[in-house]
């Protein structure tokens, strides 16, 4: 079997897994061409990451919600509302940042649990419960910002979350650009390669099917180059932003929880077959509470990121976030049939959605066309999911 035949076969078999990378690659390439390279500029990549942050965080939570066969339409305005609470706490009540952030996060968990209560206890379909939430949080957001309109936040520490960058290592001038970013990038590449090789070896000892050796190397090289390129580009600008660090942390923690812990296994078990899970002793209700609670928490985080990025709370904050988050999750390989989807995939999905918005904004595309395009991408992602799912099963 030749290398290309192998490649073709692997691609066909894993089209679900690689589809999002291909989509991201295609979208980036198209926008790079259409904007004469402006899209791939250091400044824009940095911007893109910061813009994607608040969607990526939501997408991570939404992935788990969709995995357990629910959906949450309220996250957008919930994020907006909680962002407004943060702004009010900072500006009108003069709370310190260190108090505001935990407070808002706890509030987020609490609102998530309310949704979970409606869904798990009363058995209300999640889309309706969260549709009501959509209205309620939108109303609350408008109420909160009614008297003042846009609330401008003059707090530098808070605003750094969405706009700041990690500091460079002082006196490290041998390398041009942002040294710490580069070092982090190299560490990431090394960790990735080592863990992949370990995983492959482990699989081989259990006689699982693994990628052919040459394709495996190609994959490692490709990912290493992508990470290297991104860090290189970023280090040429201001380095890694705090948003990027937060998002990576969230993705890392959630990846760990979903793939390495019992809780994660239980979440996927519930998504795969709720009855079977219930029969095997998993409390579906408890899992529902955990997942919606985490969704609330991440909505709060998203609200903080967005408010901090705009340095203000606005009356329309959070509009259509839920759509981007859902789309990101689908692009990232979540299945509407439940039980399938990875946190890392949703990060890529969020990048796809972010790139789409960012690229169209760069090109000055009218908002109406942007709506249509985002809608179409969501439909395309879901259709992609449905067709590949059926071929698999």
């Amino acid at each position: 079997m030749t290398f290309f035949q192998d490649l073709q076969r692997v691609l066909r078999q894993n089209v679900r897994e690689y589809g999002m990378f291909i989509a991201l690659f295609v979208i980036m390439a198209i926008f790079t061409v259409l904007t004469n390279g402006l899209f791939l500029s250091a400044r824009n990549i940095s911007n893109l990451i910061n813009q994607t942050g608040y969607i990526a965080v939501l997408a991570v939570g939404m992935t788990l919600v969709i995995v357990i066969r629910h959906i949450d339409l309220s996250v957008g305005f919930l994020a907006g509302f909680l962002g407004a609470i943060a702004a009010i706490a900072l500006v009108q009540w003069s709370f310190p940042v260190v108090a505001v952030i935990p407070m808002v996060l706890v509030l987020g968990i609490f609102t998530g649990l309310i949704t979970a209560f409606l869904v798990a206890y009363f058995g209300i379909p999640a889309f309706v419960a969260t549709l009501a939430g959509w209205l309620i949080y939108r109303g609350l957001l408008l109420q909160a910002t009614m008297s003042t309109g846009t609330i401008i936040i003059p707090n530098a520490a808070f605003n750094a979350i969405g706009n700041g960058y990690i500091p460079d290592i002082p006196g490290f001038d041998m390398i041009p650009g942002h040294a710490l970013t580069l070092i982090l990038g190299i560490i990431a590449i090394v960790i990735y390669i080592v863990s992949e090789i370990n995983a492959r070896r482990k699989k081989q000892t259990y006689d699982f099917e693994v990628l052919p050796r040459d394709i495996f190397i190609l994959k490692l090289a490709f990912i290493a180059v992508v990470i290297g390129l991104v860090t290189w580009v970023l280090s040429g600008y201001n380095g890694l932003s705090w948003t990027a660090i937060i998002v990576l942390l969230v993705v890392g923690i959630y990846s760990f929880i979903t793939t390495r812990t019992v809780l994660g296994r239980h979440i996927y078990a519930v998504g795969g077959n709720p009855e079977a899970a219930e029969l095997s002793g998993i409390s579906v209700k408890r899992i529902t509470y955990v997942v919606f609670g985490s969704m609330g928490l991440l909505s709060a985080l998203s609200g903080i990121l967005f408010t901090s990025r705009l340095q203000s709370a606005t009356t329309t904050a959070g509009t259509l976030f839920e759509l981007d988050a859902i789309a990101a999750a689908y692009v990232g390989g979540v299945s509407a049939a439940g039980g399938v989807g990875s946190v890392f995939g949703s990060l890529i999905g969020a990048l796809v959605m972010g790139s789409l918005t960012n690229g169209m904004n760069l090109m000055g595309v009218d908002i109406s066309v942007q709506y249509v395009a985002r809608g179409l991408v969501l439909v395309a992602a879901v259709i992609f999911d449905a067709t590949t799912r059926r071929r698999g099963g």
Binding site: I71, L73, L118, F122, G123, I124, P125, F127, V128, A129, L131, A132, G133, W134, L135, I136, R138, G139, L140, L141, L142, Q143, A144, M146, L320, L323, I326, A327, Y330, A336, D366, I367, S368, V369, Q370, Y371, V372, A373, R374, G375, L376, L378, V379, V382, I383, D385, A386, T387, R390
Partner: protein, 407 residues
């Protein structure tokens, strides 16, 4: 022996009076027939009391007529939503589909096109049918949750509306017939004539039903019971016409709503198609095995939903005499879904009535109207609407739980 028989006879309780038994039977039948409407009626009364106590203008003839005109759009859309909910699906795109319809109609009527009103409306309905077809086909061929598909198309149709209107801002509608849909009022005589026709129709319907039950040897409502119900209807209808006539008269949209109600109720309750919709909503497998083309039913229902949404959009545009970029935005989608759900249509499929959606729409419109009269902030309006939707859904879930508990 004879002694003991006498004794046992004397032990039996005295038979209740005939009148008492009749009354109790009435009560039971009324409760059985209108059990799911009762919360709604109570809700309506509560709303009326609250708003009237806050603002003297709520319970006036003028505001009543306004209410009918205001609820028309929501009600029409909700009629379509009922069908989608009966399947156990959801159509989130109705708001912007109605906007697409309104905008296209406005453009067709306007200068460069200058189509006659009937042609414009016909084309718009055709477009809407096409949109519904698209939704249905995507949902059925790829077997994707309708929530997601219609969520995406919500965004897309919003984009389309913005795209079509473009820089125009607001498109005025000048066609008198179209404007008349929402702004024409029947002369008093016609109103009374309409009332008479409705009462007679209801009477015929009741007695037909009575006969049918009798033929099936099932003890139905007693004759006096029928007369009482009929009297109730007559009072209600004449009351509505009387109040409307004290102001501008019965609005044309009221007649349209009634016609749509009759047609759609007939479709849902008295045709094979309607039975299939209920069957698919109740148990898709059973319907499929019985040879019902489930996919085509689903597509058709989404077409109905889109067509009703477009009709709603036309009514809304006619009321405002114009279309702008805000068409279809805001609460429209939620109000129409809430109207259907509050009307007792179950989100779990297979249970609900078109007519109840009318009552639900009346309730929602009443709240909008009242909150408008009180001058509540938009934030509070969202909040209250959301809470009302939540309550309706909770009631639905509770009733479902009770049913399952019984069954």
């Amino acid at each position: 022996m004879s002694e003991s028989q006498k004794a046992s006879h004397s032990i039996q309780p005295a038979a209740p009076s005939v009148f008492g038994a009749e009354l109790r039977l009435w009560g039971q039948q009324l409760a059985a027939n209108y059990a799911d409407v009762l919360p709604l009626v109570i809700g309506l009364i509560v709303i009326a009391v609250i708003f009237q106590s806050q603002n003297q203008n709520f319970l006036t003839a003028r505001n009543f007529v306004n209410l009918i005109v205001q609820m028309a759009g929501i009600c029409t859309i909700a009629y379509g939503v009922v069908f989608v909910l009966l399947l156990g699906e959801l159509d989130l795109s109705v708001g912007y589909v109605s906007a697409v319809a309104a905008v296209s109609m406005a453009l067709l009527l306007r200068d460069p096109m200058s189509w006659p009103w009937y042609a414009a409306i016909a084309l718009v309905l055709l477009i809407a049918a096409g949109i519904g077809l698209l939704h249905g086909v995507i949902i059925t061929t790829f077997q994707i949750p309708s929530v997601i598909v219609t969520l995406a198309s919500l965004l897309a149709w919003n984009g389309v509306v913005l795209l079509i209107i473009g820089g125009n801002g607001t498109i005025l509608i000048q066609d008198p017939v179209v404007i008349g849909i929402a702004n024409y009022f029947l002369p008093p005589v016609w109103g009374w004539l309409l009332a008479a026709v409705i009462v007679v129709a209801v009477a015929i319907r009741y007695f037909q039903e009575k006969r049918a039950w009798a033929q099936r040897n099932i003890p139905g409502a007693s004759f006096s019971m029928l007369l009482a119900q009929l009297g109730l209807w007559a009072v209600l209808i004449c009351g509505i016409v009387y109040i409307a006539n004290r102001d501008r008269g019965v609005p044309m949209v009221g007649v349209i709503l009634l016609l749509l109600l009759v047609v759609l109720s007939f479709l849902a309750n008295h045709t094979a198609f309607g039975r299939y919709v209920y069957a698919v909503g109740g148990n898709q497998n059973a319907a499929y095995r019985a040879g019902i083309p489930v996919g085509r039913i689903r597509v058709t229902v989404f077409m109905i939903s889109s067509i009703m949404a477009s009709l709603g959009g036309i009514i809304l545009a006619a009321r405002l005499r114009s279309v702008d970029t805000a068409a279809g935005s805001g609460n429209l989608l939620f109000n129409s879904i809430a109207a259907a759900v509050i009307g007792g249509t179950s989100l779990f499929g297979g249970r609900g009535r078109v007519s109840s959606a009318g009552l639900g729409a009346l309730m929602i419109a009443g709240m909008e109207n009242g909150m408008g009269l009180l001058g509540l902030s938009p934030g509070l309006k969202f909040l209250i609407t959301g809470l009302v939707l939540l309550v309706a859904v909770l009631v639905d879930a509770g009733m479902r739980r009770k049913r399952l508990g019984q069954g």
